[in-house]
């Protein structure tokens, strides 16, 4: 009996690695600390009422962003561990298996559990405000999306201490990721964690498309929408049509692994290549899902801090539309080297290069927005400015990779690694940092410290280049990605040392940013005006942070840059002008939280093939959905007196 339990535990828990024991202990300690703090300050009820059951997009956005920052920390630690292992040749810091697990979780977490929630978080924070709406189209669904993402991320992260992490790369190529070559729960975690988060993301896409298409303030025609809203609309569109592909790909591989089907196996006629095909049909649009919102943010930030209209508004919009369509017809460039005919490779080479055209148009429009402006070098603006040259390098090396015969030489080398970090960090992460500094006052009511912000910017940005520019060269020298070690005498060491220094520098930059968040929360300048930057769009028309219902009166829009126009006309006061009407708002609900955790347990059951857990949990999920269907009293009206009280508390009532 005891032997049985021991055998079970040694399969169930990850044993034998001091690094993981350390992590186990710190996880347990931090959980104890959280429980203690919540109990000591009697915050459980507050947590439940204000956060876990909220369906307010602004709060959901904040939860997304907190989760994203935590995941950035975890993915960053993974990166530093990897860099520590391959700084010098023949190191023994991590063994092969451990290294494989770490690069797999690094990639997966950074794309799906860091970049995605960061972006969706920013959309939640800014889009309803920018279009002058009270919330998103489907607030309940929005909460469910968040919790599905959250439990997906938790399930994925759990692999690290229970059962073992996935180890076949974030692309999880078959047959390596199939049951035969990679048995055990690790890959199942990948498949099911991503599945849960992916379904949440799909719902977000539907939600924001409906929100932006139908809930804009009166007068805000499509071509008067702020650019971030435009980019969110296009992103949502891509999400809606790309994420089902991921859902199917993950489901098919899950069926392969759990129920013995033969989609991607080598045996019985399976087609491992089909996995790569499906994965990248989703995977390439995914790249645009994470970059387009950043483009939108740069447009907002550059226009705001140049104190000038965005140059070429219509061209900006149409180039995004074009990018969204092109993003669906280029996926093969991720496997040019899979032996396709010259005709296939030619077509996909050219379609990939074609994306450079609308992207180039955008770059020039940003440059000409700066032109004739009055440029103010705020921290948000610095991130946006640094984006231009850094993303340029990433984009142009992307064009170089699009040349199929040249790609035969770059593919899977550090040249490729450098390229996608240039675009994903230089584009997405810089964009999210810009957004963080730009919208921080709108989220929390105080401004992040500019001096600390600039210090963290310079450390991070310079280190980023120290880290990734040498990677291009080490790639050309023949070093491939995912090597846990390399022999001496190849001349790779000096550059690898430089890269590692850069990586740690980025870590320091991040720590300064976190310190800035802490410092500003305590001592930062409070934003009383709601408009700390001289903003142009409607999110600056309300208080910081915005009240529950966003606007007491829905603003009337006449031009693009609606708030600027209101300021010029002197009509900003009308938003808070009495008399008010009762405001219709949806009720908070604990069901999304409960449903998501039921799905977590269903997923956990599937990971270990414990159907006694998976089936009841899945049935309970259906039951929660049925309850929801029969729920008719899910909204309330905020009475006029309460609105008056709220508005006078902000000092805006007139």
């Amino acid at each position: 009996m005891i032997a049985d339990i021991k055998a079970f535990l040694s399969d169930f828990l990850v044993l034998g690695d001091p690094l993981i024991y350390g992590a186990d202990i710190s996880i347990v300690l931090s959980m104890v600390a959280i429980v203690f703090v919540l109990s000591y300050f009697k915050k459980w009820k507050w947590l439940w009422k204000e956060w876990l059951t909220t369906i307010d997009a602004k709060k959901i956005g904040i939860m997304y962003i907190i989760a994203a920052l935590l995941m950035l920390f975890r993915g960053g630690i993974d990166a530093l561990l990897m860099r520590s292992q391959i700084t010098f040749p023949n190191e023994g810091f991590l063994d092969s298996q451990h290294y494989n697990e770490i690069f797999t979780t690094h990639g997966t977490i950074m794309i799906l559990f860091m970049a995605m929630p960061f972006i969706v978080g920013m959309m939640n924070v800014a889009v309803p405000l920018q279009i002058g709406a009270r919330d998103v189209a489907f607030p309940y669904l929005n909460a469910l999306s968040f919790w599905l993402f959250f439990v997906g991320a938790m399930l994925f992260n759990l692999s690290f201490v229970i059962g073992g992490s996935p180890d076949a790369g974030w692309t999880s190529y078959t047959p390596l990721a199939g049951a035969k070559l990679d048995p055990g729960p690790g890959e199942n975690y990948y498949l099911i964690g991503l599945q849960l988060a992916g379904i949440g993301t799909l719902a977000t896409g539907v939600n924001f498309m409906a929100t932006i298409l139908k809930m804009r303030a009166p007068g805000m025609t499509l071509f008067k929408m702020p650019m971030f809203t435009w980019s969110s609309l296009i992103t949502s569109l891509i999400i809606v049509f790309a994420f089902p592909v991921l859902t199917v790909a993950l489901a098919l591989l899950t069926i392969d692994r759990l129920f013995g089907a033969h989609f991607f196996t080598i045996a019985s006629g399976g087609s491992p290549m089909m996995w790569a095909n499906l994965f990248w049909i989703w995977g390439h649009p995914e790249v645009y899902i994470v970059i387009l919102p950043a483009f939108g943010i740069f447009s907002e930030v550059i226009s705001t801090f140049s104190h000038k209209k965005l140059f070429g508004y219509k061209a900006m919009v149409w180039s995004m539309v074009l990018i969204s369509a092109l993003s669906f017809v280029v996926w093969l460039h991720h496997f040019f080297t899979m032996g396709n005919t010259a005709a296939v490779n030619s077509v996909f080479s050219i379609s990939t290069m074609a994306i450079a055209i609308p992207t180039g148009v955008k770059i020039f429009n940003w440059l000409f927005t700066l032109n004739k402006g009055r440029i103010e070098f705020s921290t948000a603006m610095l991130w946006a400015l640094a984006f231009i040259p850094n993303f340029l390098i990433g984009g142009l090396t992307g064009v170089m990779l699009a040349i199929a015969p040249a790609d035969y030489q770059y593919h899977n080398s550090y040249f490729l690694v450098a390229h996608f970090h240039s675009v994903l960090i230089g584009g997405t992460v810089f964009g999210m940092f810009a957004a963080l500094h730009y919208w921080w006052p709108k989220m929390f009511g105080h401004v992040l410290n500019e001096k600390l912000g600039k210090i963290s910017f310079w450390i991070f940005m310079v280190s980023f280049n120290i880290c990734f520019l040498p990677m291009y060269f080490v790639g050309l020298m023949g070093m491939t990605r995912r090597m846990y070690t390399y022999p001496e005498g190849l001349g790779w060491m000096p550059l690898n040392v430089v890269i590692t220094i850069g990586a740690f520098g980025m870590g320091i930059g991040f720590i300064v940013m976190v310190y800035n968040i802490y410092w500003s929360a305590r001592y930062g300048k409070r934003d009383k005006t709601g408009d700390p930057w001289g903003g142009r769009t409607l999110e600056w028309a309300t208080t910081s942070p915005a009240v529950e219902y966003n606007f007491a009166h829905i603003p009337k829009v006449e031009t693009a840059d609606a708030f600027l126009h209101m300021k010029e006309k002197g009509t900003t006061g009308q938003i808070s002008k009495a008399p008010f009407k009762p405001i219709h708002m949806p009720n908070n609900s604990g069901k999304p939280f409960i449903q998501a955790w039921l799905m977590f347990f269903a997923g956990f059951g599937l990971v270990f093939e414990w159907y006694w857990l998976a089936i009841p949990a899945a049935a309970a999920t259906m039951l929660v959905m049925a309850f929801r269907s029969f729920e008719y009293h899910d909204h309330h009206y905020i009475p006029v007196e309460e609105i008056e009280r709220t508005e006078s508390a902000t000092g805006r009532l007139n």
Partner: protein
């Protein structure tokens, strides 16, 4: 519902399901979701077609498919789509009883379809040894057709719940929207079946 717009106003006739902001949003949202579903099924179709010839020595599509069987399935679904459409037609006349009758007929046809399909699967498995793990072709077949079948089953549960709500509450802006949306879902499953009928069964007879 206080925000239900009445049809007696001077505004042009507007069906009840579109009469509230919430109703309009949800209907649009559901159309967007259907766009996503199209892509979801297209991936299953692509996978099935790619592995169609990978039978690994197991049964082929020509050996398995039976014209009579899949034609009955097809007619059951086509007619259920029609009866479901009549439900929507009654909805426009605010006739709760009519809606319920047509939806129940739709449900019965749907159940008939599921019964046929389950029989078909069981027959394949027991008589031909054709299971999901036999070959890539059969994996593709069972998962594509099975996903559609799972959608229909879910639709049956969903429609049942809506019939109950309709019986309890009558035709209101909210129940009208629910009936309309479940109708969209049902018709959409018919669209998917048309492609399964074409790309799986008919094509399977040719190639």
């Amino acid at each position: 519902m206080s925000s239900v717009a009445s049809n007696q106003s001077n505004k042009p006739y507007e069906p009840l399901e579109y009469s509230t902001e919430d109703g309009r949003l949800r209907i649009l949202g559901f159309w967007i979701f259907l766009g996503a579903e199209i892509v979801l099924f297209s991936c299953l179709f692509a996978t099935y077609l790619v592995v169609h010839s990978h039978t690994a020595g197991g049964p082929t599509s020509k050996e398995l498919y039976d014209v009579k069987e899949f034609m009955i399935e097809t007619f059951l679904l086509l007619i259920s789509s029609f009866t479901c459409g009549l439900g929507t037609h009654e909805l426009r006349r605010h006739n709760a009883k009519g809606i319920i009758i047509w939806l129940i007929i739709t449900l019965l046809l749907g159940l008939g379809f599921i019964y046929m399909e389950v029989n078909e699967f069981v027959k394949y498995a027991t008589e031909e040894g054709a299971t999901v793990g036999r070959s890539a072709f059969l994996s593709g077949f069972f998962v594509l057709v099975g996903t559609h079948g799972a959608h229909v089953s879910l639709g049956i549960l969903w429609m049942t719940s809506i019939i109950i709500q309709l019986a309890k509450r009558g035709v209101t802006a909210v129940t009208a929207r629910k009936v309309f949306i479940v109708g969209l879902y049902w018709h959409f499953l018919d669209v998917v079946w048309i492609f399964i009928f074409t790309a799986v069964y008919l094509t399977g007879m040719v190639l």
